[in-house]
Symmetry: C2
């Protein structure tokens, strides 16, 4: 039997099924993170931004967006909320006033200590060994890169200037 088998022998077609598995696993992950992150007054996307900042402080919004695959329409209000609760500061870059540089406050830096135990807890909730965890992450990362290419390819060409 060839590799690309009939698409309708499963209750839901397999490609759809994989997407649904990813989709619902993402929601399930969020449900596990939520009670933990509630204690830090963070949502999961906010936590991702904090992870970026704990790695490197004083970052333009654009870099955060590139790292997390999120656009400014998502990040602008999210960053304003993180500023409102005092974890970071938003300041225009002197050398390029278009850029908004994000820097941690003392409270934001201090939060890293409280967050340090989170990955272990999540790892335990996954019920997977170290190597399985890594393998799955690598497969998904590859898949995401492939999907990004596919989405790019199907996007309308950038209006070639004559």
């Amino acid at each position: 039997m060839p590799k690309s088998a009939p698409a309708f022998d499963a209750p839901l077609p397999l490609a759809d099924n994989l997407c649904f598995a990813v989709y619902s696993t993402a929601l399930a992950f969020n449900a596990v993170y939520k009670p933990i992150l509630d204690r830090l007054h963070l949502t999961y996307p906010q936590y991702l931004v904090m992870l970026v900042l704990w790695q490197q402080d004083d970052v333009p919004v654009k870099d955060i967006g590139r790292l997390l695959h999120l656009d400014s329409g998502t990040l602008t209000p999210l960053l304003k909320r993180l500023e409102a609760i005092g974890y970071l500061a938003r300041r225009r870059h002197a050398a390029d006033e278009r850029q908004l540089r994000i820097t941690l406050t003392d409270a934001g830096r201090a939060l890293a200590d409280q967050a340090r135990s989170i990955p272990q807890g999540i790892g335990a909730a996954c019920g997977l060994g170290w190597d399985e965890l890594g393998k799955l992450r690598d497969q998904l990362t590859q898949l995401r890169e492939q999907l990004d290419r596919a989405a790019e390819a199907s996007r309308p060409a950038p209006a070639a200037v004559r």
Copy 2:
């Protein structure tokens, strides 16, 4: 070296990294589905509901929620939108007026034809073989079940009645 290795030798701890991989893959999948589903005037969660209905018509909201792992707060407005564009009907069940039964309209049934080619397109966008696709889906489904158990366990006990 034991299985549960140090948690801080990666740029981001591994468990967080797996969650991020799932999270961003879900968003990437959505970006691939979007232009395809736009032609059917569906969002991805709406498409999931239609998949359920194409399998079994005349379903209570609760069953849809159980199948898709979505709660009524999400489904109520979503189903109203699908009703507004004429793909389904919402009717109280005669035998139990609490239940809202969802049934396909002719337009909703007809849509299945247009949707038939979607899984192949998505499968191609994944760039994975049939067996890899299935293996990944199974691993993720297992992971989601494990995460559901972990979330359940960490939820406050349902207030034992004396």
